[in-house]
C-alpha cells in the first residue's frame, strides 16, 4: 500500500518496522531486496566486472505502474500491508536497488505476493540499467526472456 521511487538508499529494518507498526494481526513478513552485483552475466555465457550501474526510469509512469502492481497484489492476496521501494540514479556494486515487502496473517500470502511483486515489477516497471565496466564503457542491460516467463506464470 506504499510505493516509493527514490535516489536515496533505504533502511530495510526501519521500513519493515514502519510497515507493520501497531498491527498485531501480522504473523508473516516476506521481503525481497535486489542488490547491484559486481559481475554481469553476458549474453555469451561469460561474465564482466561491473563497478557501478545507473538506473534510468520514466518519472510519473514508474509510480503509476508500481501502484498498479501493488493494487494487483492486494486484490489477489489477503495482505495487511505492502511496500515497494525502487531506487534510480547511479549505484555502486553491493548497493541496494529495490525492496519489496508483504505482510499478512499467514506466511503463504506474504511469500507469494512478494514473489509476484518482484516478478511483475521486472517486466512492467519502466526502469533501465546501464552497467559500467572497468574499461569505462557503459552498456544497457538487455531484458531477459526468463523475466517475461516469470511474469507470465502469474497471469
Amino acid at each position: 500500500m506504499s510505493v516509493k521511487v527514490q535516489a536515496d538508499d533505504f533502511d530495510l529494518a526501519a521500513e519493515l518496522a514502519a510497515m507493520r507498526a501497531g498491527n498485531h494481526n501480522i504473523g508473516a513478513v516476506a521481503s525481497f531486496v535486489g542488490l547491484v552485483r559486481d559481475m554481469a552475466d553476458l549474453g555469451d555465457g561469460g561474465r564482466d566486472q561491473v563497478t557501478a550501474m545507473t538506473l534510468e526510469h520514466y518519472p510519473g509512469m514508474t509510480e503509476k505502474m508500481l501502484a498498479r502492481i501493488d493494487a494487483e497484489a492486494q486484490a489477489r492476496w489477503p495482505l495487511e500491508a505492502s511496500l515497494i521501494i525502487h531506487r534510480h540514479g547511479r549505484l555502486q556494486a553491493g548497493e541496494q536497488i529495490v525492496l519489496v515487502a508483504c505482510a499478512s496473517p499467514h506466511r503463504t500470502a506474504a511469500l507469494e505476493a512478494c514473489h509476484f511483486l518482484i516478478d511483475w515489477l521486472k517486466t512492467e516497471a519502466p526502469f533501465w540499467k546501464l552497467e559500467q565496466t572497468p574499461d569505462g564503457d557503459g552498456h544497457w542491460v538487455a531484458a531477459r526472456d526468463s523475466d517475461t516467463a516469470a511474469t507470465e506464470k502469474w497471469r
Binding site: G60, L121, K122, P126, W128
Partner: protein
C-alpha cells in the same frame, strides 16, 4: 505532442524529449514510428527494429496498432530491466 526516448533510444535519437506535431495522416503508433524515422538518421536507427522497442501512450503500454488520438505524451524505450 511530447515524444520521450529512454535508455539506448535516447542515445541514438540524441535527445530525451521533443515536442512535435505529426501530420494529420499519422493515426497509429506504427504511423508515428514511420514518420519519426524520417526526421533524422538517429531516429531511423533508434526505431529500426520495433521488436526491441516498447511504446507507452500517456503512460500506458500500447501496441503498434494503437490509435494515438489526442495523446499528449508518447514514449519509446527498450524492454524494461529494473529489479535485481
Amino acid at each position: 505532442m511530447k515524444i520521450l526516448y529512454f535508455a539506448w533510444l535516447r542515445n541514438k535519437v540524441g535527445c530525451a524529449e521533443e515536442e512535435l506535431t505529426p501530420p494529420a495522416d499519422v493515426a497509429t503508433v506504427a504511423d508515428l514510428v514511420a514518420w519519426l524515422a524520417t526526421q533524422s538518421s538517429g531516429h531511423a536507427d533508434a526505431l529500426a527494429d520495433m521488436q526491441v522497442v516498447r511504446c507507452a501512450v500517456d503512460q500506458e503500454y500500447v501496441g503498434l496498432e494503437h490509435v494515438i488520438g489526442a495523446a499528449r505524451e508518447v514514449a519509446f524505450f527498450p524492454p524494461v530491466t529494473g529489479g535485481d
